[in-house]
């Protein structure tokens, strides 16, 4: 038996004092729990980690951890995280947010983050809706989803984040479900440990604007096939799956992008003088 002193960091060490204001039942609670558990398992101290987000319910995650954090501009989690990682490669940088933030307004940044393959972990809490702004459809919303704001549904083909990430060059691609926090935590650990750009898509129900997503617990299932390092094979698999397969899909071997030049450190005072009239 080991005692707490032999076990230096626990999930609790990464939680801030702030209480989440998410709706009770929101999948993001369990994702937060999985993130803090994964941080403890990885063993980096809170001050060695930065959590970067855009805007949305899910993008509130940085405030609920006591790591360094930046709650940025809508859709801009990835450029912020990329800049930070390039200038501070010693930090563990995690970007987090929703499907609206990442695939809609941030869609272009998503493509190029995959392409650049900087050593980041990107956690997307996909609830197939804009939760924060009260239920507009997002790029991953099914075409037939009928609601007061989209009577009859959008009729639009959903965006397929995992295939797009593979095509654009992401080095690690996985899917999990918020209702399974233990496996989600394990996948976050794997995503962090794998070099390069890692995408973890977490199905995380919005119980308020998509109450039917409470049934996801009955629909998700572990993928019947093992992970692959063959990008084309992974893309074929995920194109034909039902969207509820969970597990690690792809682990590539692209070398992460990290410029070898030493970036000159400019103090914030110097930087501000550039903007003086």
């Amino acid at each position: 038996m080991s005692t707490e002193s032999a076990c230096p960091l626990t999930a609790r060490d990464y939680k801030s004092e702030l209480k989440p204001v998410w709706c009770p039942g929101c999948g993001d609670f369990s994702v937060l729990m999985a993130i803090t558990k994964a941080m403890a398992d990885v063993g980096r101290r809170p001050e060695e980690i930065a959590v970067i987000s855009g805007i949305g319910c899910s993008s509130r995650v940085p405030a609920y951890t006591n790591c360094y954090g930046f709650h940025g501009v809508h859709g801009r989690a990835l450029p912020l995280a990329t800049g930070l990682k390039l200038s501070r490669p010693d930090l563990l940088v995690i970007a987090a947010g929703g499907d609206g933030d990442g695939y809609s307004i941030g869609g272009n940044h998503f493509l190029h983050a995959c392409r650049r393959n900087v050593d980041l972990t990107y956690i997307v809490m996909d609830n197939q809706v804009y939760g924060m702004t009260k239920g507009q459809p997002s790029p991953t919303t099914p075409p037939e989803w009928d609601s007061a704001l989209v009577p009859g549904g959008t009729g639009l083909r959903p965006f397929h984040p995992l295939v797009i990430a593979l095509a654009a060059g992401a080095n690690f691609v996985a899917r999990s479900f918020s209702g399974d926090p233990a496996n989600t935590a394990q996948m976050i650990v794997e995503a962090i440990r794998h070099p390069g750009f890692s995408l973890l898509e977490i199905l995380s129900p919005c119980v308020t604007f998509r109450p039917e997503e409470r049934d996801w617990a009955k629909q998700v299932h572990p993928a019947a096939v093992d992970e692959t390092s063959d990008r084309a094979r992974a893309a074929r698999r995920v194109l034909t799956d039902d969207g509820f397969n969970t597990g690690i899909l792809f682990r590539g071997d692209r070398a992460p992008y990290q410029p070898s030049v030493n970036l000159e450190v400019v103090s914030s005072v110097d930087f501000e003088t550039e903007f003086q009239p």
């Binding site: 709706c23 119980v207 409470r214």
Partner: protein, 167 residues
């Protein structure tokens, strides 16, 4: 995993009670934030009961002083058995739904101790595990009694007054 010593049993017992208290408090606060005060009050009451239980364990057995590494707890998940998973509640839930979840949580705790008691050889340790199982069985009966006192006005999920207006 079989529990073979008193410190390990106490560490499990304290984690079960204190984590249940903490989760009930979190759920109560979430429900109050969402204006579901009836369910919020129920969860607060349950939080108090679990916190009292944790304090008793600490006072009678010094249980608060024994903790294990996260991986050494015998539940195979991130959460101890008496905790209601975050995803099993929702902001519109009725008192009956909330107590049904609480009942399931108490039963999981009772089953946990019963399972371990059955696997511990005769002796003081088994007696202690059996005592813990009996306490959880008492909580099961308490929640069942609360449920039986609810009238049908407590069955309906609340109406969501905050949905977008139809176009």
């Amino acid at each position: 995993m079989t529990i073979t010593d008193r410190a390990t049993l106490l560490a499990h017992a304290y984690a079960i009670e204190s984590e249940a208290a903490e989760r009930y408090e979190e759920l109560a606060s979430q429900m109050h934030t969402s204006n579901n005060h009836e369910v919020g009050d129920l969860f607060s009451k349950l939080a108090e009961i679990e916190a009292k239980h944790a304090a008793e364990l600490s006072l009678e057995h010094g249980a608060a002083n024994v903790t294990l590494a996260a991986t050494d707890y015998s539940w195979g998940s991130l959460e101890s058995p008496e905790v209601i998973p975050f995803g099993d509640v929702h902001h519109l839930m009725s008192p009956r739904q909330a107590l049904t979840q609480a009942l399931a949580a108490e039963r999981r705790a009772r089953d946990f101790y019963e399972h371990h008691a059955a696997n511990i050889p005769e002796g003081d340790l088994r007696t202690l595990a059996t005592e813990f199982a009996a306490e959880e069985a008492e909580h099961v009966r308490m929640v069942q009694a609360w449920l039986s006192r609810l009238d049908s006005s407590n069955d309906e999920e609340r109406e969501d007054m905050d949905q977008p207006m139809p176009l």
